[in-house]
Each structure stands twice: as structure tokens, then as C-alpha cells.
């Protein structure tokens, strides 16, 4: 795939003049959007911060909801409904980002105003919510909320697939042991899908980092480092939106400076994506390690020890029953003890059975 290398190469070629240039003395860089910066890095630093910050807001809001949706579709919704619901969420992914931007302007901004007033009044001592509250709503919080909506479908669809792949036997085993549905999900589904969910989240983060139009339309930006989410003039601009806003009015060298910032964005999202892939890849190894540990914890297959273990278990079970139910007949206990003793045979049968089933599935 030459294209990827090509992208990087062309961006570097175009960006070098601006990165290398002497910013204060260069007349071309001394006016317009790039005026007043000592060099390239002081210009791009706040932009990087803004990009990361808005993406982080989006992730904090979006990821839990997305995982909730994925769980709902894969485990809670009625089977017939699940397909339709999944399609609806995928439709959310198909809506163009510009439409989300427009929607954010006229719906989300006014919608968030009362909330941001409330947050500022009662939680204003936290730097996040401090400062002068915006009256138009063009805040980075609004941008983050729209970004969260946009990354929902990505995280949801990947986690949903992962959750659906949880081995049916694990789930049924958990349920058979008396776990409630949530405990089953906690014990069987989450450990199985953890790495998948993490990499899905990182992919969503990558999407949020590169998103342009929603941010460019919604927030009223300033190039500075600020953690305040609710103010009018202290929203950190993001790289992508900055490019989109300044590109049409920029001169040649300014354009190259913008391309330089684009190169950094490219590098950041490349790192995030690679991280996601590596985690998704490592998942296999981690699961394998865990499985071997579990194998080691299993009782040795020496028949006498197995019998001993089962004996203990059976006695425990009997004791539990006499405590639990006052009028339990002793015969039942005996039967259960019998069943416990006959456990090894059942256990011996089962693996053979399941391997047979697996072979059947493969064929």
C-alpha cells in the first residue's frame, strides 16, 4: 500500500518549509491566522491540546453509553428486535458529519445551556466548569457531545460483534450456576470481550481526533490551552477544525504551516490506531495465558484425587442443604451426594461431547 507512505511523504515535503521557517521575521507568517507565534511548535501545541481534550470529552461521554447500547442489542433486546436496532445504530454512522454539525448548532447548543449554567453555579470550583458561562453555547462541551454522538456507532458496532462472539457455553454455564444476567455478563461476557472493547474505544478516539466539521461549526475557538469547558472565548481549537477554518484564507506559507499541523494530526491518529490494533492483537495472547493458568488450577486428572475432591464437594453440598431447608428429607441428601460422587463420570463425558460438537460445527 503505497498510498499510506505517499500520504506521509507528501505531507512532510509540504510542511518542511513552514516548520523550518523563522516565524517572527517571516512576513508571510507574521500576519493572518499565524501571526504572533515564536515558532511552529508554539503554534501547534495548543492545537494538539484542544484536539486531545475534545476527543477525551467525547470519549468520556460516548464510550459508556456505546458499551451499554452494545450490551442492550446483544444480550437484552428481544432477538427479533435486535437486528432492527442494530440497523438503526448503523444508520447513525451513515449520517454525514456536516449534518451532525448543523444539528449541533441548532439543537445541542441551546439544549446544553441550562445544564452548563447549573454546572457552573454548583460545580464552578472545579476548573473544568469554571469561568464565565457562554451565552450562545458555542462551547467545547457542545462540540464534545456532538463528537460523542458521532463515535457512538463505531464503538457500538465493534463491541456488539465482540459480545455476540462470547462462547455460548460460558454464558450458559454462568447462568446454570445461578448467576443473574448481570453477573453472567460481568463474569463471562466482559472478560472475553475486554480487549475488543478497548480497541473499539481507541478506534472511536481516532475518529474523534480527526473529526473536522462538527467542531469547526460549533465551537467558537481560540488558540490556547484551557481546561474550561463552558466558556465563550476559552475553547481550545482542534487541529482539524483550525485547518478547515483557515485554509481558504491562508497564503502559501501559512498553508504549509497548516499542512504541518495536519501532519501532526496524522501522526497522532496513526499512533492511536496502531495502539488499538496492537491491543486487539495481544488479546489472543492474553486470553491464552489466562486459559493456561486456569488449566493449572484445575484438579489433577488422577482419579483418586478427583474422587476425593468430589467427595468433599458432595459433603459440603449436603451440609448446605440441611442448613438451608429445615425439613429436608435425608434421602434427598443421599441422592445428591450420589449425584456428586457420580460427578467425575459426567465430567469425563462432557469434554468428549463438546469436542464432538465442535468437530460437527467445523464440518
Amino acid at each position: 500500500m503505497v498510498i499510506l507512505a505517499g500520504v506521509a511523504l507528501f505531507l512532510i515535503i509540504q510542511a518542511i518549509p513552514a516548520i523550518m521557517a523563522d516565524w517572527p521575521s517571516n512576513s508571510d507568517l507574521n500576519e493572518g491566522p499565524t501571526a504572533g507565534y515564536a515558532n511552529f511548535w508554539t503554534y501547534v501545541g495548543p492545537l494538539i491540546w484542544g484536539t486531545l481534550f475534545s476527543a477525551a470529552i467525547a470519549l468520556v461521554i460516548g464510550a459508556p453509553i456505546a458499551i451499554g447500547i452494545a450490551l442492550f442489542i446483544s444480550h437484552y433486546a428481544p432477538r427479533r428486535l435486535a437486528g432492527i436496532l442494530g440497523y438503526l445504530v448503523d444508520l447513525l454512522a451513515a449520517v454525514p458529519s456536516i449534518v451532525f454539525g448543523l444539528w449541533g448548532i441548532i439543537v445541542i447548543r441551546p439544549f446544553l445551556l441550562p445544564l452548563s449554567d447549573w454546572l457552573n453555579t454548583y460545580l464552578g470550583w472545579i476548573p473544568l466548569f469554571g469561568g464565565q458561562v457562554s451565552t450562545t453555547g458555542s462551547t467545547i462541551l457542545a462540540g464534545g457531545v456532538v463528537l460523542a454522538v458521532m463515535i457512538l456507532p463505531i464503538i457500538t458496532s465493534i463491541s456488539r460483534e465482540i459480545f455476540l462472539q462470547t462462547p455460548r457455553l460460558h454464558e450458559e454455564a454462568a447462568l446454570a450456576l445461578g448467576a443473574t444476567k448481570w453477573e453472567m455478563i460481568k463474569m463471562a461476557v466482559f472478560p472475553y470481550g475486554r480487549s475488543g472493547v478497548i480497541s473499539a474505544t481507541l478506534l472511536g478516539l481516532g475518529r474523534a481526533l480527526g473529526e473536522t466539521m462538527a467542531i469547526a461549526l460549533i465551537i467558537s475557538p481560540a488558540i490556547l490551552v484551557s481546561v474550561r469547558m463552558l466558556t465563550e472565548g476559552e475553547n481550545s481549537q482542534t487541529i482539524a477544525a483550525n485547518i478547515a477554518l483557515n485554509f481558504p484564507i491562508a497564503t502559501t506559507l501559512q498553508r504549509e504551516a497548516l499542512i504541518g499541523t495536519g501532519l501532526l494530526l496524522f501522526v497522532i491518529s496513526l499512533v492511536v490506531n496502531m495502539l488499538a490494533r496492537v491491543i486487539a492483537g495481544r488479546a489472543g495472547a492474553g486470553a491464552k495465558r489466562k486459559r493456561s493458568k486456569m488449566m493449572a488450577q484445575l484438579p489433577p486428572s488422577d482419579p483418586s484425587t478427583v474422587l476425593a475432591v468430589d467427595d468433599v464437594l458432595a459433603r459440603k453440598a449436603a451440609a448446605g442443604h440441611t442448613e438451608g431447608a429445615d425439613v429436608a428429607e435425608p434421602e434427598i441428601d443421599a441422592e445428591e451426594a450420589d449425584a456428586g460422587v457420580s460427578g467425575p463420570f459426567v465430567a469425563d463425558d462432557r469434554p468428549a461431547d463438546s469436542t464432538e460438537k465442535r468437530q460437527g460445527d467445523d464440518a
Binding site: A77, V99, T212
Partner: protein, 367 residues
């Protein structure tokens, strides 16, 4: 005196069934939901009513009430279970809200500006020499044509490359080979390229070749195909892997060459999925604003030549109409909404085509 025989008191209530006692009735969640709806409505009527606040308050009251009720009657584990079930459902409803709200907003704002004239006219100002008045025409024809041309060229570039790459990955490459692994990895990473970076790439590529002011529809197509190729590769790869190996082996066993097997057996079997994937990829890039904005810039003039001059597209029209409005701000905004609605209609049509194609071309005999 006959001693009154006190009969042993008969149990008033039936003996509790160990299986069903300590459980809430089946429809308790609906009862609690109704109660919390009513309660929060009352609370908000005292404070001032709005629908969003009502729903949020209802959700909170519902979760708390159900949790308390369940932990009193049942046990803590079941209470957690019920609360989590409620939380997950709330999360899902929360996600549906933006979807519905977006669609409603776009339709209600855009429907006013869409008319036959809006679709078939080119926008611009018309000078009438008799009355000496300048009237502005609002139209989206140039944007529709531009969108279709740019997306069409992007599809022409990326569909063959994407499908051939997928065929290579599935049919020819050994899974352990370094080449196959590198290609897969790069495709994965390319999926995550920010769209604006693709636009910058196309712009800088063409400004190296053509010189400054290198705005053209074709460079926008190149930017879009950078975004589109990985999507096509991924979906085609999945589809080709779904083709049963038995089919291939049967074909080989009859002495058919590898190439014929691929074109006559594998591709026809997977064609429905491939077409669906391609349609979804087109629907995905047709709404991209940033790269087209970088590479093709924007204009109000009609331009059907993709190799020269700026070209207008629907998403860029929506963006510029809102961010850089003309003298008549209301008209600009209205045309922006019109463009957005046209775009959404286009995307939905593409999605529906993808669905229908998947139905029609589905391999016969598989179901």
C-alpha cells in the same frame, strides 16, 4: 363442660413456594415505570415542565425506585441486575434520541427550501437590465452534479483496487506471509486516517504536480478514494472469507484453474455482500466534507469538468452556506439546510439500495 377444642389453626396463607417467593411480580418494571413517569410529571409541573427534564427525571426515579424495591423484596444481586438492565435500556434510548432529533431537524429545516427549482437551478445572481435589480437565485444543481462526479470518480478508482486487494488477501496470500500481514495492517491503519488529512494529501499532491491553486474535482476524488479503499477492502475481504472452502475445492477437483475459480465461483457467490459493502462505502464518503473542501474548494458556478477549476458539492455547500454566508444570511442558511437534506436523502437511498441488492443477489439455495 366440654372443653372447647381449639383446632390447630389452619394456615391462612398458602405455604410459600420456595421457587417463587421473594420475587417481584412479572410486570413490576412496567408498574414502576408508570409510577415514576407520573411522579416526575407532578414534580416538574410544580417547577415548570419540559419534556427532556421529564424523561431524565423519570429515568432517575425509575432506577432508584426499582433498585430499592428489588433490594427490599428480593436480594441485592437481583437488585443490581434489575438496575443494570434499566441502565442499559436507558443508554440505548439515549442513543436513539440524537438519531431521531437529527432527522427531524434536518427534514423540518430543509423541507422549506427544497423545490424543483432548488434541485435543477444553478445558484448565482442575475442582473436584470430593465429594472436594474440584482436577484439571487438559489439552487443546488451545481452541487448535485459535483457530488455525483467526484464520488463517481472516487468509486471508479477505489472499487477495482479494493476488490483486487481483497482477492489477493483471501485467495493468493498465505496468512503467515509478511506481505499479507503488512497489507492487512496498513489497511487497518488507513481506516483511521482523519478525513482532513486525506484532503491535505490530495491538495499537496496536486499542488506539486499542477502548481498552486490546484483545486479540481479530480483531486477531491483522489482524497475520497484514500478514505474509501480501506473500507472496500475490509468489507470485500469479510465477504470473500465467508465463501465456503468446499466450493473452491469442488471447483479445483474438476480441474478448473485458480483464476476461473475466482471469477466463476468465488465472486458470484460473494457478489451480494461485495455490492452491499461498496454501496455502504460510497454512502460513507459521499458525506465527507473536509477533504472535498480542501481539494475542490467551493464555487457557485456550474462546473462539470473534474480536471479544472473548483467544484461545488452538497456537503461543502451546507458548510459554506452556514460558515461563510452571503449577503442574505437567511437565504444562505436555508440553502445550507436544503443541501443537508438532499445529502441525507442521497445517503438513505444508497443504504436502501445496498439492502435491496443484498436481498436480490443473495446466492440461491443458501436459504
Amino acid at each position: 363442660m366440654s372443653a372447647t377444642i381449639t383446632p390447630t389453626p389452619r394456615p391462612v396463607a398458602p405455604i410459600g413456594n420456595a421457587l417463587t417467593s421473594g420475587q417481584l411480580p412479572r410486570y413490576v418494571e412496567w408498574y414502576v415505570l408508570g409510577a415514576s413517569l407520573a411522579l416526575s410529571a407532578v414534580i416538574l409541573l410544580l417547577m415548570g415542565f419540559n419534556i427532556a427534564g421529564w424523561l431524565v427525571l423519570t429515568a432517575v426515579i425509575y432506577l432508584i425506585a426499582l433498585g430499592i424495591l428489588s433490594s427490599v423484596v428480593e436480594n441485592r444481586r437481583k437488585a443490581t441486575d434489575r438496575v443494570i438492565r434499566g441502565l442499559v435500556t436507558v443508554a440505548f434510548l439515549l442513543a436513539l434520541a440524537p438519531l431521531i432529533s437529527t432527522l427531524i431537524t434536518v427534514v423540518s429545516n430543509g423541507i422549506g427550501s427544497i423545490s424543483w427549482d432548488f434541485i435543477t437551478q444553478t445558484s448565482g445572481s442575475v442582473f436584470d437590465p430593465d429594472t436594474l435589480e440584482v436577484t439571487t437565485k438559489v439552487g443546488a444543481w451545481q452541487a448535485i452534479v459535483g457530488t455525483l462526479i467526484i464520488t463517481g470518480i472516487a468509486a471508479l478508482i477505489s472499487i477495482p483496487i479494493g476488490i483486487l486487494t481483497a482477492i489477493y488477501l483471501v485467495e493468493y496470500a498465505q496468512p503467515k506471509q509478511w506481505m499479507a500481514r503488512t497489507v492487512t495492517f496498513l489497511v487497518d491503519v488507513m481506516t483511521g486516517i482523519p478525513s482532513i488529512v486525506a484532503g491535505l494529501f490530495a491538495f499537496s499532491l496536486f499542488s506539486l504536480i499542477v502548481g498552486p491553486k490546484a483545486f479540481s474535482g479530480f483531486s477531491a476524488s483522489v482524497a475520497l478514494s484514500v478514505l474509501m479503499i480501506p473500507i472496500v477492502v475490509r468489507s470485500c475481504e469479510e465477504m470473500l472469507r465467508l465463501v465456503p472452502g468446499d466450493l473452491r475445492e469442488a471447483s479445483f477437483a474438476l480441474g478448473v484453474s485458480k483464476f476461473s475459480t475466482i471469477t466463476k465461483i468465488v465472486l458470484p457467490t460473494a457478489i451480494a455482500g461485495i455490492v452491499t459493502g461498496v454501496m455502504l462505502a460510497i454512502a460513507r464518503v459521499i458525506g465527507e466534507t473536509a477533504p472535498i473542501f480542501m481539494a475542490a474548494s467551493f464555487t457557485d458556478n456550474f462546473n462539470a469538468n473534474p480536471f479544472e477549476g473548483p467544484m461545488q458539492t452538497l456537503p461543502v455547500m451546507a458548510y459554506t452556506g452556514y460558515k461563510f454566508p452571503g449577503q442574505d444570511i437567511a437565504a444562505s442558511n436555508a440553502s445550507a439546510w436544503g443541501a443537508a437534506l438532499l445529502l441525507v436523502i442521497l445517503v438513505v437511498i444508497l443504504n436502501l439500495i445496498a439492502r435491496v441488492v443484498a436481498r436480490v443477489f443473495a446466492p440461491k439455495g443458501s436459504r
